[in-house]
């Protein structure tokens, strides 16, 4: 592998990167917070007119299926019992979309993995892409498949496993290769709806929450967001390059009894779309705010034909996404623009961190830190948590928010309601992973991901992140002036 493509080797966390050229640290609220919310890192690009610049794009896809024999992600029972992967049902991919306007180049990397890489991994990828490919803007989004390899924030050896380093190398090389074949692009959006899942937290009339872990009878639940949002990227001649599909649903049709790698319904969805377009474009799944949303056929046992249920689920989304994509009229924007921020917000722990750590150990044993709450593996835990929130505004009309965890679906609905541009995409599992982000109401109601140990960020963190991204979009639109009116 060439030097430019950026090999990854095990090494110390490049913490100094946060003080590097691209990152400015603003410690506005010292001492650090009893009450959260400080913007620590800001990097805002693209608010200047771009003149005659054009939007360019390139796409790529790389197989990142790890070797068998690795611990798998997502079901604690599987981790606790030390079960490892035994085969491959369908390959796992990283998909890449590179966008460029003028001097600005952004890479969107989506992963058929349970979560994104840890902070060190993302930072290494960012630095490598900056050096090798001139890409300083990076979004890494995971589909949250529960049939991938496990990823941790902290590895017992202090180093990520070989497959993870190799995967980072593959992604860097793929991005580098794609960045050499950017073409003028046109974009368009479209919307539809599909029902493949349900809200797994059932709030009773007395306020008690019951978890509904599968719903093969397709009983109606709420809140739910059936919206399928599609962003289509074509070359200048109208040939589709990429079809991005944003939807919110846990990829957990396959359950803990499955020990083979699979992208779950997401892989089927992508194949369905790509086939519908005769393999021309790459279909990129963008997982939304699925913190409380399961597929109807969640955790179907293999002996009950789980793969057929996975395929049904994926095809439902894929066929709707294809229908939407076909109706989209892409266009070349006369003044294309990429506006992007990646901000770090500081939050308090929801629970007393040391007490939580001790309680987790007492309840589940040490292996709990291989499931969720990786940050808690530190003893003592950090006194606060730093979360990346990304905001992307494309051509001043297509907005994306990225949250580093599993937001509840109401955030996605709220984002769309409040976003000041017509197109509002929501990305969970982006640029970091801090487990569940329930709404304030859900945190009070309780249930899995709302008031158990799978959520540990201060209550209201999701609302703050959403508001932060909303303000960013307004800033990018030039609708928040930097000085007061004088009349």
């Amino acid at each position: 592998m060439s030097k430019q493509s950026g090999n990854f080797v095990a090494g110390p966390h490049p913490g100094q990167a946060f003080a590097g050229r691209l990152w400015r640290r603003f410690d506005l609220f010292r001492p650090l917070p009893t009450l959260a919310c400080c913007f620590v890192v800001l990097f805002l690009l693209g608010n200047t007119p771009l003149g005659a610049a054009t939007l360019k794009a390139a796409v790529a896809k790389v197989d990142i299926t790890p070797p068998i024999g690795l611990p798998m992600y997502g079901f604690f029972d599987r981790i606790k019992e030390g079960r490892v992967s035994t085969g491959v049902l369908d390959p796992l991919y990283a998909r890449v979309l590179i966008l460029e306007v003028g001097e600005k180049r952004l890479a969107l990397v989506t992963l058929d993995l349970g979560r994104t890489f840890n902070a060190a991994g993302i930072e290494r990828l960012r630095k490598t892409l900056d050096t090798s490919s001139g890409i300083s803007l990076l979004i890494v989004n995971a589909s949250h498949t529960h049939s991938g390899p496990n990823l941790l924030d902290e590895y017992p050896s202090g180093q990520p496993p070989a497959w993870e380093l190799e995967t980072l190398n593959k992604i860097a090389a793929t991005v580098h290769e794609a960045s050499g074949r950017l073409v003028e692009a046109r974009v368009g959006t479209g919307y539809g709806s599909v029902y493949i899942g349900y809200n797994r937290r059932v709030v009773g009339s007395e306020g008690r929450v019951t978890m509904l872990w599968s719903n093969p009878g397709m009983e109606p639940t709420s809140p739910l967001d059936p919206r399928v949002s599609v962003l289509r990227v074509d070359d200048a001649g109208g040939k589709p390059l990429a079809i991005l599909v944003n939807y919110a649903c846990h990829p957990v049709v396959l359950g803990a009894d499955n020990s083979k790698y699979s992208a779950d319904f997401v892989g089927v969805m992508a194949s369905t779309v790509e086939t519908a377009f005769e393999g021309a474009p790459i279909c990129i799944f963008l997982q939304g705010a699925d913190g409380d949303i399961n597929p109807y056929y969640a955790t179907t046992p293999l002996k009950e034909d789980a793969t057929a249920k996975r395929d049904w689920t994926g095809k439902q989304v894929g066929e709707e996404a294809s229908r939407i994509a076909r109706t989209i009229q892409t266009e070349i924007f006369p003044q294309p623009a990429i506006d992007f921020t990646d901000d770090v917000m500081n939050f308090r722990w929801r629970w007393d961190a040391t007490t939580l750590r001790n309680s987790l150990l007492k309840t589940y044993g040490a292996r709990i830190f291989e499931d969720h709450a990786g940050t808690l593996a530190n003893d003592p835990p950090p006194d606060h948590l730093e979360l990346h929130v990304i905001t992307l505004l494309l051509n001043k009309r297509i907005a994306f928010i990225g949250m580093p965890g599993e937001p509840f679906v109401n955030f996605q609905i709220n984002w769309r309601d409040r976003c000041p541009v017509a197109d509002a995409f929501f990305l969970g599992y982006t640029n970091g992973y801090f487990d569940y982000l329930p709404t304030i109401d859900a945190a009070a109601e309780g249930g899995y991901g709302a008031a158990d140990s799978n959520t540990y960020m201060e209550v209201g963190a999701g609302e703050q992140m959403l508001r932060h991204a909303l303000v960013r979009v307004y800033e990018m639109l030039g609708r928040l002036k930097d000085s007061p009116e004088k009349d």
Binding site: L356, K362, I440, V459, H468, Y474, E485
Partner: protein, 461 residues
């Protein structure tokens, strides 16, 4: 003419205590403190300053106050259960006092109350109030604070068992003064004499009635959102504006038995129809129309409120200080202040607007069902509506201008649309601060309802 300042206190006879549990919650510390009944007392003291004091609210006044149209009052309610008492002070002033005077009030009777809310009606016909005065706190404010302190102490020593109830109605006395045009620009819509419908407005009149145990009304608290600016800058006489008329109307309807409190809500973008009526166009009559209309509705609501003694009375509160940064670059903000309000603005209106800002937010929960949130400034009306929609208990009161003053709190969207209070120098706290404060109050309310666990559901303690 210097007006008479007289401490008026209403006391009530004692009744037998019930046996109930209550929860003390101060700055998120919670503990069970024993049995209690809800107890309360009210007091009223006149705080009209002498003539000659600069007046609040308009930058184009021709001089200081010359006289008094109607007296300005401070009304005090002390309410609590067990050892947990709230002192609520409602002022006929443009804003609440600054940190020094609030600290003096905090210290006046620490054994009597554990939380203090000082809220102002925002009348624009009162004296200038500042956080820090160039030549020290003026005599009128020192005297007013002393009187209020005595009123609190007096109320504390005359507590009686009380019962509470709430009721709601609607009154239309104002409009949204920021008119958003179809092209997204905003026009200043100061007066609306023909009562053209606007939005958003919140016509809801929320009433909290506090009775003695025999049903005799002790206090009627009226929560509504509208700028008290029927009088304009040509008026140089002290007046409570329409809230003074409103309180008189309510008290008159109840044979002067209860004390009526006006609790200003979130009128950051709401003006009365007859805003800034020139004196020569009979502004006094317009003030009276506005106050009487609201007062009659409040009285009608109050008469229909069925108060009841809660066998498990509680009063809880959470006091938070939230940190925000300034919205503007200090130099740009100062330049805009001078451009908008004139070169003398910092002599009468020097707010804390630079660097890190620490805002006090209090959330109160009475009997586990009546919530009150405060904001230290001029919140846009959508915040009041949002608070009511999101508050997890049925009764949600919103108090602006409470425990400090940090200018306007526009919604995020309003901040982008622009206009007075939305994007001019009268707003200086970071965009989104109001949303954050509502979030905080919702979370605090859930906490006081014990609906936010201390440990995750799934772990062993």
């Amino acid at each position: 003419m210097r007006t008479l300042r007289k401490l008026q206190t209403r006391t009530l006879s004692h009744v037998a205590d019930g046996v109930i549990t209550f929860v003390v919650l101060v700055i998120s510390a919670q503990g069970v403190a024993g049995a209690a009944t809800l107890r309360g007392a009210v007091a009223q003291v006149e705080i009209t300053p002498p003539p000659g004091v600069e007046m609040w609210g308009y930058s184009d006044r021709t001089g200081p106050a010359t006289a008094t149209l109607d007296p300005l009052y401070a009304r005090v309610l002390v309410l609590g259960a067990g050892k947990n008492f709230l002192a609520l002070v409602a002022l006929d002033l443009g804003r609440s006092f600054g940190p020094a005077s609030l600290a003096r009030l905090q210290d006046v009777a620490p054994q009597c109350f554990s939380s203090l809310i000082v809220t102002a009606s925002h009348t624009h016909s009162g004296p200038v109030v500042m956080d820090r005065y160039p030549n020290g706190t003026p005599a009128w404010e020192l005297a007013a604070v002393d009187k209020i302190g005595h009123a609190i102490q007096h109320a504390c020593s005359h507590l009686v068992d009380v019962r509470v109830g709430t009721g709601y109605g609607a009154a239309y006395i104002g409009h949204n003064r920021l008119h958003v045009n179809t092209d997204g620009t905003v026009n200043w819509f100061e007066r609306n004499l023909t009562k053209i419908p606007t939005s958003p407005v919140d016509p809801m009149v929320s009433v909290l009635r506090i009775d003695q145990v025999d049903g005799t009304p002790l206090a009627i608290l009226v929560n509504y959102s509208c700028h008290p600016v029927v009088f304009g800058s040509d008026n140089l006489q002290y007046s409570a504006d329409y809230p003074g008329v409103m309180t008189k109307t309510v008290e008159g309807a109840f044979g002067q038995k209860p004390l009526c409190f006006f609790l200003q809500g979130a009128p950051g973008d709401i003006n009365p129809y007859y805003a800034v009526t020139p004196l020569q166009q009979n502004a006094i009559r317009m003030r009276d129309w506005t106050g009487e209309r609201l007062g009659r509705e409040a009285a009608w609501i109050a008469k229909n409120v069925q108060t009841k003694a809660d066998p498990e009375a509680t009063l809880q509160f959470v006091e938070h200080k939230l940190k925000f940064h300034s919205r503007w670059d200090p130099q740009k903000w100062r330049a805009a202040m001078v451009a908008v309000f004139g070169p003398s603005v910092f002599q009468t209106f020097p707010p804390p607007a630079e660097g890190e800002l620490e805002l006090s937010i209090t959330t109160v929960l009475i009997n586990k069902r009546i919530a009150i949130m405060t904001m230290p400034g001029e919140a846009f009306v959508d915040y009041q509506i949002s608070w009511r929609e999101r508050c997890p208990v049925p009764d949600a009161f919103f108090l602006g201008y409470a425990n400090g003053y940090y200018g306007y709190f526009p919604t995020v969207r309003s901040a982008t649309l622009g206009g007075y209070g939305a994007a001019n120098p009268a707003t200086w706290v970071e965009v989104g601060a109001g949303d954050r404060m509502v979030d905080d109050a919702v979370i605090a309310t859930y906490g006081m309802l014990d609906r936010l666990r201390k440990l995750p559901e799934d772990v062993k303690p």
